[in-house]
Assembly symmetry: C2
Homo-oligomer: 162 residues x 2
DNA sequence: CTCAAATGTTTTGTTTATCGAATATTTAGT
DNA sequence: ACTAAATATTCGATAAACAAAACATTTGAG
């Protein structure tokens, strides 16, 4: 088997795991996936303006506005008109918002960290070095065309009912 | 800096790249993200039943049905009632569906493969070994709790307008 | 200063996604 | 034959997503 295919299959697995974990947190926090991503972005960047937040989560401003509407209604975020520049609206996590984000997300980080710490020191370095290469290989920004990641079974299934 | 944090940041980057690449393909194919994911799953597993397909993309049957409705209307997939078991409906890509999936997705795989092939043989092995460890570290299935991946800046932003 | 352009956000309108529950049909077990 | 399980769709409701338009504010050119 091609080594590159092997790597792609593993990446696929990794993406799948991350995806499922996100869905699990989504359930446990009672937030939808987009809401969760927004909250996570806020956790790291708040206070931030609506426009910047939209860039952060890679969706349009209009969509962010509607997501914020719902998060605000839940009392998880606050909106505050800018003082110097009144066009801007500064988004922040409310106390409850911070509380919510302190729960599950921490647990998760701990999990990865715990397992990572179990590795030998040289293995840790190896993983980091490898991830750096993968990050580069997937970085479409520095490419002519912007290609995609389509991973999974290589074999075409035979036609007809299985 | 903690090595585990370094690894998490890199993973974050990797996820981001993959995400953006998927959005790019989404635009170029004129498919929405869920539709694209469904088509990709079909590409690898077709023919497949509605229920199995739902499992494959980790959404409910009801949702898959509605996505298939739209893909069918676009002439990209075909539905066929099972002969032996008439409860089942076999989904397949139409000729146009195959054509569409042959375009961008292939290019993408080529991209990663090209860069991967540029690596030294020992580096390729290292990347695979590292990905195996990461895949394991993220595998929540074999865990008590199901933790999550929340990566990004560690520092809390200072409060107040920036 | 004044008005046009630029910037930032929200609103509007439409399509899609998502889920749980209800429904219909078929198959399988006893 | 009857009932339970399996399979897919439909329905109802909410959320997400985007583009285009509307709105408010700021900046810049003269």
């Amino acid at each position: 088997m091609e080594k590159s295919q092997e790597a792609l299959v593993l990446l696929r697995q990794i993406f799948r795991s991350a995806d499922m974990q996100e869905k699990e947190i989504s359930r446990s926090t009672g937030l939808t996936l987009p809401q969760l991503m927004t909250m996570q972005a806020l956790r790291h960047t708040a206070p931030i303006t609506t426009g910047e937040l939209a860039k952060e989560v890679s969706i349009t401003q209009a969509t962010v506005t509607s997501i914020l509407d719902r998060l605000e209604k839940k009392g998880l975020v606050t909106r505050e008109r800018g003082l110097e520049d009144k066009r801007k609206v500064w988004i922040n996590l409310s106390t409850e918002g911070w509380e919510l984000m302190k729960g599950a997300p921490t647990t998760q980080q701990d999990m990865f960290t715990r397992r990572f710490d179990d590795l030998q020191s040289w293995e840790q370095s190896m993983v980091i070095a490898a991830l750096e290469r993968v990050a580069f290989m997937l970085d479409a920004q520095h490419l002519d065309a912007a290609p995609m990641l389509d991973v999974g079974q290589i074999d075409r299934a035979e036609v007809g009912n299985k």
